[in-house]
Structure formats: structure tokens, C-alpha cells
């Protein structure tokens, strides 16, 4: 069976969610691999949520919110931006594949940008294949147990 990427999108209520809505109402077709989770603001998106998404089987993540200076709460996306800069470098330093997380600014008027973003991300993840880094860690423990079993 062909691999269908599971993508979780963490989006802000005011821009990207409305943008996705616009994509819907203007009947733009885009990949169905994405599950959207709506947040009040990008500033609310805790990095642990991203970790949990990967842990629970996501292959790719989209994080998106209002363009700089457009935040409904004035500065939420600026805070978020700093946090993503740091978070990306933590993940990169740990050797985590940061390409699996796509960050973007999508405004309420950018329905097509949203559709393109989802399509591109889906394609990118499709070529990358399923996210197995976390699972492998568990499988390693299982393998060890199987080895022990065989040793018997």
C-alpha cells in the first residue's frame, strides 16, 4: 500500500484557520492528509504539543499563523517566532529531522497559499517517507528483547 503521510497542522484561529476556511469556501482542492488543530494564537502553540504529535504518529507538522504585525493579540506571533527559532535549533542539535516541521504565515485572505502549503508539505513528507525515528527507539527495545529471546 502506498504511504499516505499523516500531517497535523497547528494553526491560529484568526488568520490561518480563516485562510483554510477560505480555501474551503472557494472550493480549492488540496491534499486530505492534514488534520487541523485550531489555537487561539500561535503564541499558544507549546513545543510539547509538537513532540506529542510526533510521538502519537504524525509524519509531518505544519505550524502556521498570522503574518508578522498582523497578530490579533498584537505580539503572539513574534513570541512564537522566537520560540520556533530556538526550538528548531534544539531539535537540529539533537539530530531530529526539522524538515518535518513546516512553519508558515498564512493570512485569512490567502486561501490558495494554504492549499499550496498543504500540498507541498504532503509531497515533501511523501518523499521523505514515514516518520519512524521515535518508533525505532521503541523497536530497539523490543528487538533487544527478541535478541534475548533468541539467545535462549
Amino acid at each position: 500500500m502506498e504511504f499516505e503521510p499523516k500531517i497535523v497542522a497547528f494553526v491560529c484561529n484568526w488568520c490561518t484557520y480563516a485562510g483554510a476556511d477560505l480555501a474551503g469556501t472557494s472550493r480549492t482542492k488540496y491534499a486530505t492528509n492534514v488534520s487541523i488543530i485550531r489555537f487561539p494564537c500561535t503564541g499558544r502553540i507549546d513545543f510539547m504539543l509538537l513532540m506529542k504529535a510526533f510521538e502519537n504518529g504524525a509524519d509531518g507538522i505544519i505550524v502556521s499563523g498570522c503574518h508578522p504585525n498582523d497578530c490579533h493579540y498584537t505580539s503572539g506571533n513574534f513570541h512564537a517566532r522566537r520560540r520556533w527559532i530556538v526550538f528548531r535549533s534544539v531539535l537540529d542539535f539533537m539530530g531530529f529531522d526539522t524538515d518535518r516541521i513546516t512553519f508558515s504565515w498564512v493570512s485569512a485572505a490567502e486561501g490558495t497559499k494554504w492549499a499550496d502549503l498543504v500540498n507541498e508539505t504532503t509531497e515533501k513528507i511523501r518523499t521523505k517517507g514515514p516518520f519512524t525515528d521515535f518508533k525505532k527507539l521503541d523497536i530497539e527495545t523490543t528487538n533487544r528483547m527478541i535478541d534475548e529471546e533468541l539467545a535462549k
Partner: protein, 334 residues
Amino acid sequence: MEIKNIKSTNIPAFFDQLIQSGKVVIAPVLKKSGKVFFESVKSYSQVATDYIQTGFSAKSVVFPKVEELFSFVKNEDDIEITNNLQNIPETIVWGLRPCDASAFDYLVEFFLRENPDTYFAARKEKTTLIAVSCAKADDACFCTSVGLNPGSTAGSDILLTLMGEDVYVEVNTEKGKAAVETSAALFTPSEEKSKEEYLAKLTAKFSIDEIKERIKNAYESAEWKHESMGCFGCGACAFACPTCTCFNIEDEGTQNSGKRLRCWDACGFGQFTKHASGHNPRTNQTERRRQRLMHKFKYSVENLGIVSCVGCGRCIRVCPAHLNIFENILSVTK
């Protein structure tokens, strides 16, 4: 008990024979960090020989840091529970120190005397302990103070003592005999010899009988506060300790499928005793550290008749604040 002899040059052959026999062999391995830890090994070349004490104890063989109690899957109308008790492999622990081996005696008493613990029993039954007596000791070692010595045979199935070219082999149990028989040709019979000159010299820091007596009234000592001020409340001492047995039971997964695990826990953690209501019986680090030390030297004596400290010195070596258990005990029992 049987006494045998093996040439030290034959030890690798004996060791590899044990691996050949199909058992999992856990032995001390020198890690990148420069510390020695027990690990599953595949050949004698991996085994560290020059170490005073391993970083963590061998208790994880019978009481792993994370143990799956069972896994469950929710079906339409039922919940299916499975455990893999029967998959526990035969294991040999190589190169643990006599103090560690004697800790197993305590663990057996603790886990099996009353309400026997199924998981511990299953693991212990499949474990053979091959101990190596200590030729060296450091400032943190104090086994002689708690009634043991660098060559005590308590708890081990086999005790090896290096005597120059030869290795003096004390086979203490049937399990030990079975391990020796995997390469019977390498062993020759030997008469009983004194190990004294090959063992580390360690003067006792205190008399255990005196401490046992004095600690009876130590609960109220004002020194507890002073001695535990430096304690950060981490779990390093409890996790490194060969006789610390506290654990936590936690579920992982979802309500549809997952597993119930038992994980090491430590009485030094602030949340250890905290009720759901927010009430915490042991509110400060003084009380928590007192609980740990009193348990080792008083409560376990009262409950099981054994001092549950074997003097391995790990808690002293790993303590971030370099707190010293025997210094503490001496000062609170003054």
C-alpha cells in the same frame, strides 16, 4: 559449597562459554563517559576489569528501571490483559561486587518473604550471580562497617577472587555449580585458602551494632536538618542504590491500548508522598532524607531484621552535593 581453581588466563574462555550456553550475560562495561555500567555483552573483550564499583547496581536485572506489568487491549466488550512473564531470559550477572551480591539477599527477603512479588520472583529465579571480590576500595566504600567485607560470599552464586595467576572460585549454590559445569574442564579442585592478602583493606568507619542501637532514638535528632540541608531532592542515590526498592506504577498509552509499567521511584522526590488532595505527609527534604536513612538502618531492621545498606558507596559517589551517608548517620546518632 565447593572450592575450585581456574587459571586467570582461562577466564575469557569460561566467560565466552557462558555466553555460548545461550544465556544473557550482563557485565560491567566502560562507557564513553569514563564510568562503568552493567550491560548485556557478547564477548569478554567488552568487559571492564579495572573498576572499583559500577555506576549503578545490578538490581536492575531483577528489578528493572522500567518493567512492564502487563499490556492491555480494549476489544468491543472486554479488555484483554497479557503479560510476558514467561519471556524473561536466563541471565548471568558477571563481575558484581560482594556488596552488590549481598544486596540480593535483602531484595529476596523484601520482595519474597511476605506477599511474594511475582515479577521479582520470576526474574530472580532465572538469575545467576557471579561476583568478583574487591582488590581495591576507595574513600566511599564502607562495606566493612555494615558487617560485610570485600570477599564475602553472601548472596552470590559464585565468588571469584584473583590470586596472582590463579582465580580462587567459591561455588556457593546449585546455580553456581551449573555455571561452572558449562566449562568444567577449565576448573581444578582446590583446597580452602585464605583470601585475606588479596582483598582490599578497609577499616570500619563505625560499629553497626552500636549504630543500630543508637538510631532507635535518632528520629528527633536536630542534626537531621543540618545534615540534609544540602540535599537537592533528586533520585540519584535511590536509583544507584542496590537495595532501594521503591517504585511507581504508571499507565502508558490510551484507554484503548497500552501498558501498565512499574518504574523506579525515590523517597527523596517531593511528590513521592503527596496526596491527590495536596496534603503532603513529608513536606521537606529533612523528613525525606531522614526517611531514607532511617529505612536503611532502622525500619528494615525492625521489619526484616536486616540493615538494608551494604556499604557499596554509590550514593556517595553519585550525590550531586557529595553528601555522605555514613557521615550523616554518624552525626545523627551522636
